[in-house]
Amino acid sequence: MIPLSWLVTLAGLLFGIGLLGALLSTNAVRMLISIELMLNAVNINLVAFSRYYGASQPHGEIAAIFAMVVGAAEAAVGLAIFVAVARNSKLIDIDKINLLKW
């Protein structure tokens, strides 16, 4: 039997690492990876609470499934954007991509 706190701690660590990566990374692909890590951390939380609080009503697991789908979609769109940006500007360093600037 695994205590819920272990699972939550694991999710927290994974989220923190993903966040750090997202904040520090200069590479767009790495930022994408970091975001996927954070999504996974969230999914761990969702599934864990769903298991421990409502095994017969697994709303959390449904949410996790939707989150996965959204994550996959996000990865696909992100990839497409990076490919387009890289083709146009030969850059992948997000610090130098400032199309959204004022």
Partner: protein, 177 residues
Amino acid sequence: MSLEQLLFLVVAAVIVLAALGAVFARRIMHAALCAVVVFTAVGGIYAIIGSYFIAVAQVLIYIGAVATVLVFAVMLSGQKDIAGGSPIRRQARWKTVLTWAAFVVGLVMVFQFTLNLTVPASGPANAPMAAESATSLRFLGQLLFYDYLLPFEVISLLLLLVLIGAVVIARKESDPQ
């Protein structure tokens, strides 16, 4: 400490290490591979706590789809990695780290809240996992296709949009000729 708990600790350690690798690895390719390890290990965690369907879905989606996409991304963009080697940005580093530290503090606060929760009697501790998983899957199916039918259909539409959108965005613009 049960075998189950031991297994959990091992997998958790793998997750943390691989995640750190994904963030700090010098080569972007290595980072992508570390991410694949994390995805797989998270699927293991799901299996350990008895959510087999989610575990399978995790493997299918993340290993089968996301990881592939990530590798594609690396292939298409990052033949040359960052000049200077370090994946970490130099400018505003301290501000970022400070923010991260503050966030960790926030997380600790959330944990405090979480640890005070009591696990109800209906938790997996009181039920044999194998026997229960079949009913769990049935519940999941019922919930997904009755109560969450509309979100389900919407998310399918979202996937279609993403498919088309990704193609449109990534398409090489043909010359006017």
